[in-house]
């Protein structure tokens, strides 16, 4: 098995849109066998209803058994070692192990808890807009706005020193970049673990008011250090690589749709809907965690055999006419929840309320502060090989 640098079909896009080949599969056979780029094939599910069904059925489609898959250049002993370190990574767990950890975290992400963070998020957004304004145009919207805002928010929430950001921002970015060789990505994963281990030890010695401190104080007896490291590591990486890309891509999408940009800027009562439509239309997570079929099962008329690997094409499913009419149109006036941008089923994004709060705060604030905001280049710098779609950078002026 060799590693390939060819972009897997599930990640192929044309600008903001899923590649036409993906839409064609959704309209025709609904499911297809694709190369994952790491030496094994996967069944790719493309329709809204089928994706929902797969994500709703963790007994048939297992996340934890993904650790059984061979990885090119990684021997069985190393693979087992990697799997053992998955403790605490909720995305690698099935029920009931998943529910045990998820229930510890759910109280931290209720709508009410996240609303309490709103004043601080507003402050963080304003600080970054002030800094952009002071420095004057041009700015890199990714480096100066889209990345640092969610990064600072998740750091404060978790209890990660923001002064360490150079290290973990770089690591979390490169770990999920499929153009980075696998051995380097695994090494980065180890570095991230080591870093998180020091934070967990620190929190155990002196638990603060942040989420790590809370987990140690309230659940220190139930959770192993490996679990704590896994939970914190997942939240840190998820808090970085998601909202930041929505902010970058969302801004670019609005700049290309000036009438819709004006709605987000000028009509606060429509911002929540606009955020939902941007989430659906952009679907920055290409496929989320893959799954292993635990039994023979039929999806879209195709038999999937026990042990086979299954992936869901979230952007393609979110453009299914069964979900929305004119699905390829961005129409921020019609936003509804019910899309699959945050996934579905028991692994539905834990941080979704936080992401929504950050997006509804940051996007209008940016557009109000710089009413003449424009992208300097007409060629967006999409980051194609990253498991979460986004922009590498975006030079803006105003």
């Amino acid at each position: 098995m060799t590693e390939t640098r060819e972009l897997p079909l599930s990640m192929q896009r044309e600008g903001f849109d899923p590649a036409p080949a993906l839409a064609a599969i959704r309209e025709n056979e609904g499911i297809t066998k694709v190369s994952t780029g790491f030496g094994i094939d996967a069944w790719l599910i493309t329709r809204y209803a089928d994706v929902r069904a797969v994500l709703s059925d963790p007994a048939t489609f297992s996340n934890s058994r993904v650790s059984e898959l061979p990885l090119p250049g990684v021997d069985k002993i190393k693979r087992k070692e990697l799997a053992e370190r998955q403790a605490g990574n909720l995305l690698a767990l099935d029920p009931p192990a998943h529910g045990r950890l998820r229930r510890l975290l759910t109280p931290e992400f209720t709508l009410r808890r996240i609303r309490r963070l709103e004043p601080r998020i507003v402050e963080i957004v304003d600080e970054h807009l002030d800094a952009m304004e002071r420095k004057g145009p041009p700015a890199d919207l990714v480096a100066d706005f889209a990345l640092p805002i969610p990064s600072l928010v998740i750091c404060e929430l978790l209890g990660v020193p923001y002064s360490d950001r150079a290290g973990f921002q770089e690591r979390s970015n490169r770990q999920l970049d499929l153009s980075v060789p696998l051995d380097e990505r695994l090494a980065l994963q180890e570095e991230s673990r080591d870093y998180m281990a020091t934070l967990v030890e620190r929190a155990k010695a002196d638990p603060g008011e942040d989420m790590l401190g809370m987990l140690v104080r309230e659940h220190g007896d139930d959770l192993t250090s490996v679990e704590l490291i896994g939970i914190a590591g997942l939240l840190l990486i998820a808090g970085h690589e998601t909202t930041s890309n929505m902010l970058g891509l969302g801004t670019l999408a609005l700049l290309q749709h000036p009438d819709q940009l004006a709605i987000v800027r000028d009509q606060p009562e429509r911002v929540d809907a606009a955020v939902e439509e941007l989430l659906r239309w952009l679907s920055i997570v290409h496929s989320g965690t893959g799954k292993i079929a635990t039994r023979d099962v039929e999806v879209a008329g195709q038999l999937i055999k026990e042990g086979e690997f299954v992936m869901c094409a979230l952007p393609t499913a979110n453009r299914d006419p069964q979900l929305r009419s004119e699905p390829d149109e961005l129409d921020v006036t019609r936003g509804e929840i019910g899309h699959l941008a945050f996934g579905h089923g028991i692994h539905h994004c834990l941080g979704a309320p936080l992401a929504r709060m950050e997006l509804r705060t940051a996007l209008p604030a940016l557009l109000k502060r710089f009413p003449d905001l424009r992208a300097v280049s007409s060629t967006p710098d999409f980051r194609s090989f990253h498991v979460i779609y986004g922009l590498t950078s975006m030079e803006v002026a105003w």
Binding site: S56, R102, T106, P107, L111, G338, G343, I346, H348, C349
Partner: protein
């Protein structure tokens, strides 16, 4: 006529029901769904909340 059934054991606290109809649904301190009314009926917002629920904690059962 259908009746809303709530299985708190399935709830993962995503809060989508609250976003769908905050007059009917709420989350307790643990993030788990609670109902604010005794008989929410089976109107459009209830059907939508059931459809949006990611974990299958909400369902409509025939009376």
């Amino acid at each position: 006529m259908s009746k809303l059934a709530v299985n708190k054991d399935f709830c993962i606290g995503a809060g989508l029901c609250v976003l769908t109809d905050a007059d009917v649904f709420d989350q307790d301190d643990d993030g788990i769904v609670t109902l604010l009314v005794d008989d929410p009926g089976d109107g459009p917002s209830i059907k939508e909340a059931v459809a949006n629920c990611p974990s299958g904690a909400l369902s409509l059962v025939d009376e």
